[in-house]
């Protein structure tokens, strides 16, 4: 990722705004941008979703492949979730092998989905020890206007819940809907002007500091957390964030529910 100069005036301005409990976009501290979710939008994917989240645009495609199960778990299918921050998404992204930023994004979304247990891995097995489905989630960020974690996480779970297992393509029976029991949702908070805000935009990320991403499951339990970028936080700040996180996660879960039956 190409380095970006952080204007000192931007930092100063964000701090002044924070003192007055304001944000550069005019939003409230815990207020997110408008989110538009579309599912089943990619012709060749087995499950797909597109999220337009402010200036951020993310596509997620789910594909299935038949694989031999891992020898230590012969009756279990597998899950893979990867992200690619390609140069299409921002002038700061450069071509080349996946950057640490891409890998982090893929792994944070992966953990939230995997650890929630929303997919029954044993149900993906066809013949124990011989063949099982591998679910592959590919995150494709098309425009990075800030907070790609939440947009990618939302698109990933929506694409999964919309996915069809292509059994007929592999001659192992009829196609069926992938069973997804839960809807884990990511919420990301960024320190901007000294305090945390929800859903930082491009300028806030540029002039901000560390971020905290939290994935909550349907029953409110936590499935993944990630602190990224330079900065530190306190336990008190974390608990304040978690309160906000609960409300916002359930709103986004309702959005997913409204788009997939």
């Amino acid at each position: 990722m190409a380095k970006q100069v952080v204007p000192q005036l931007l930092r100063q301005h964000l701090a002044n705004l924070a003192d007055d409990d304001e944000r550069i976009s005019g939003r409230g501290q815990w207020q997110g941008r408008d989110v538009v979710l579309e599912v089943d939008c990619l012709y060749n994917a087995d499950g797909s979703a597109k999220v337009v989240w402010g200036d951020t645009v993310v596509y997620v495609g789910v594909k299935f492949e038949l694989k031999e199960p891992y020898s230590d778990r012969p009756t279990s299918g597998s899950l893979m979730c990867g992200a690619d921050l390609r140069p299409v998404a921002h002038r700061k992204y450069e071509p080349g092998p996946p950057s640490p930023e891409s890998i982090e994004l893929g792994r944070v979304v992966d953990r939230g989905i995997r650890e929630s247990g929303c997919i029954d891995m044993n149900a993906l097995c066809i013949v124990p020890g011989e063949s099982a489905w591998m679910v592959i989630i590919d995150i494709h960020v098309i425009s990075d206007g800030g907070n790609i974690f939440d947009a990618a996480g939302l698109a990933a779970i929506a694409a999964l819940r919309n996915a069809t297992v292509p059994a007929s393509r592999y001659d192992v029976g009829e196609d069926y809907k992938l069973a997804v029991a839960l809807t884990p949702i990511i919420c990301t908070f960024t320190r901007v002007g000294g305090r945390y805000v929800y859903d930082a935009d491009e300028e806030e990320e540029l002039g901000g500091a560390e971020r905290l991403s939290i994935t909550l499951g349907d029953n409110g339990s936590m499935h993944s957390m990630q602190k990224g970028l330079k900065g530190t936080f306190t336990a008190a700040e974390l608990s304040e964030i978690l309160d906000v996180c609960k409300t916002r996660c359930s709103e986004l879960r309702d959005l997913v529910d409204s788009k997939v039956e």
Binding site: L42, Y43, N44, P87, V88, I136, I142
Partner: protein, 242 residues
Amino acid sequence: MGGYGDVKLLNDDGSRLDGRAIDESRPVEVKVGVIPVADGSAWVKHGLNEAVCAVYGPMEAHPRKIQLQDQAVIDVRYNMAPFSTSDRIRPGFNRRSREISKVTAEAFASTVMVERYPRSKIRIEIEILSAEAGTRCVGITAASVALADAGIPMRGMIVGVASGKIEDTVVLDLDKAEDNYGQADLPMGIMPTTGEIAFMQMDGDLSMDELQQAIDYNFTAAAEIHDIMEAALRAHYDGGDE
């Protein structure tokens, strides 16, 4: 080109399996400004193909060794998203994508007024989201609209079109089955406003007469798609869609 006519691709009435006439293109849709952070962008749907393109620049060409002292470098990346095909594509280096990127870049270097921007580069990022035969053409169409949207000066917009041969018949715009089992494919990048050809590849088996027929089909289709591209730009900027 695979099967050489052993798969039936034309109906008895001479129409194609998807019902199109032999000189009929798949429907084309164009949208402008789909990538908010880019300097210019476009989305193109051509049949079941779907592509987006972002343009960034002109900006300083890095690393310095790629700089040209008298003109801008056109830096194209054509990439297929992993989920764009029925069998997933592993991300990473790909010879086919490299080749397409190279000849696409050379096509645009011939139409963009590169001499205006010495030592700079203009990045054209083409991402194929759905691939059903003819993605390099869809990418070229999307890139032209994105370049126009970015305000890059050029002599005209290149339109990506293809014709081919199935069951010994020249047809416009091969779909996936026709591409897989047909006898020839002729993708071209045509600038309808000047009648120039900036991009051409071909594989398969064509006679001279068939080639002429395929070129004619391509020129007619390019003019039609050019109208759609122009209308999309006008709708975005003239229609007051804000």
